[in-house]
């Protein structure tokens, strides 16, 4: 036991924690995105799906706790790693132009916190309803349309999901590196998998507010 404690205490271990929780959260985001596509099939279908998810409260809360726990671990580990890295260069450079830095890597530091804030807003908007203009419990379809009909809110969703896509892209690619899946023959596969899923999730999520805003879905 002391061994894994030592492992988790190390920055490498923390990165693995982020990777593992990241995979779980990624799985949730993927499922969430796929489920929501039912919006295109009409109100009845979507609301029925939502009902289904709510049917077993015990299971629902179990899943929610797991997700919450993962989010917490993901964030705590990220903050710890970030603090350590910040401390590693107490005096900044006057001129610092590290070349070829992976752009997505740079966004992680702020995309993380922004996504966290967005999730809170998203929960208040469409799960709790307190941030919603006209929340009707049980009518998910209505809630979504009403929320996304507000151009500002829709844009927030679009922007946040763009960030999420970047976050996932770099997160997924990094994950392979962190776990050490690095067979030279599959180098391009890692990149491709990361791009594929990032684009898939980003596009799937962004399409909904856009569809509402443009009146494709009413």
């Amino acid at each position: 036991m002391s061994h894994s404690a030592g492992f988790l205490g190390s920055t490498l271990g923390k990165k693995v924690l982020m990777a593992v929780t990241g995979i779980i959260l990624f799985g949730f985001v993927l499922g969430h995105m796929l489920g929501n596509q039912q919006i295109y099939l009409g109100a009845e279908r979507l609301n029925h799906y939502a009902e289904l998810l709510q049917a077993n409260q015990a299971l629902l809360w179990a899943v929610r706790s797991v997700l919450l726990f993962c989010v917490a671990v993901h964030i705590v580990a990220a903050v710890q790693v970030w603090l350590r890295s910040r401390a590693a260069r107490p005096v900044r450079y006057r001129v610092f132009r590290p070349p070829a830095v992976d752009y997505a890597a740079r966004t992680m530091v702020w995309s993380g916190p922004i996504i966290a804030l967005f999730i809170i807003f998203h929960l208040l908007d469409l799960t709790v309803g307190s941030a919603h203009p006209n929340y009707i419990r049980g009518d998910v379809y209505h809630n979504v349309i009403a929320s996304f009909s507000q151009p500002v809110v829709a844009l927030v969703y679009v922007a946040a999901n763009l960030l999420l896509a970047f976050h996932l892209y770099h997160g997924l690619w990094s994950l392979f590196q962190t776990i050490g899946w690095d067979h030279p023959r599959f180098g391009f596969v890692r990149r491709a998998v990361a791009v594929l899923f990032a684009v898939l999730i980003g596009a799937g999520n962004i399409a909904i507010p856009l569809a509402v805003l443009t009146g494709v879905v009413r």
């Binding site: 061994h3 894994s4 030592g6 492992f7 190390s10 920055t11 490498l12 271990g13 923390k14 990165k15 693995v16 790693v81 350590r84 890295s85 910040r86 401390a87 590693a88 260069r89 107490p90 005096v91 900044r92 450079y93 006057r94 001129v95 610092f96 132009r97 590290p98 070349p99 070829a100 830095v101 992976d102 890597a105 740079r106 992680m108 770099h170 690619w173 990094s174 392979f176 590196q177 962190t178 776990i179 050490g180 899946w181 690095d182 030279p184 180098g187």
Partner: protein
Amino acid sequence: MKLTLHVWRQRNPADAGAFATYELEDVSTHMSFLEMLDVLNQDLIAKGEEPIAFEHDCREGICGSCGFMVNGVAHGEQPGVTVCQLHMRHFKDGDEVTIEPWRAKAFPIIKDLVVDRSAFDRIMHAGGFITVRTGSAPDANAIPITTENVEHAMDFAECIGCGACVASCPNGAAMLFVGAKIAHLGLLPQGQPERAARALRMVEAMEREAFGACSNFRACEAVCPKEISISGIARMNKDFRRVALAGPAPARGKRR
């Protein structure tokens, strides 16, 4: 050509340090960057000032002594070279050049552009070796090794330990350096018996130093004068995870 240099001057570790500006009138394009500094230093001495301290020895890109930031890039913008191999023909008349030491908590500044990289040595002391007693080796051809493996190992073994990876990493991480060593020895059959213990000890030693974590920025790989790949980091991660999660490492408690 004319150049304006902004050089970090710091008398000793305790000194706050500041940039000093030097105007150079007559820089030959054939000079190496360090020769340009030599010429400046000769002038400074003649004027009764202290020359700029910078580390160097082989001046052919192999000892890893030299290294500082040139306009924000470790060893300057030319890919695949150390600063001693950088030539002035890559600069233009009238250029302003900012010269700064490696900045990292794990590499405290000793003087001007000279930093203390002994953290690297401490990591290597922890496990950067194959334990083999002199005289005990079998015939060199006893274990065939595929050219593919040996060349792959050599790609990592070429690391010169200059510290550019740490200096360029936005996180000040030493992963490329440590990863390169672990990958070099881990790719060879001779390195297998101690592979797990080596990864554990070296990573633990790295953690004891004030290096940051890897965020996969890949700046290290981009500035590495030997163009070492971050796939070494993946190998390190894998070796470390395996041993760290698998419970007590075999060779940990007692040394023979």
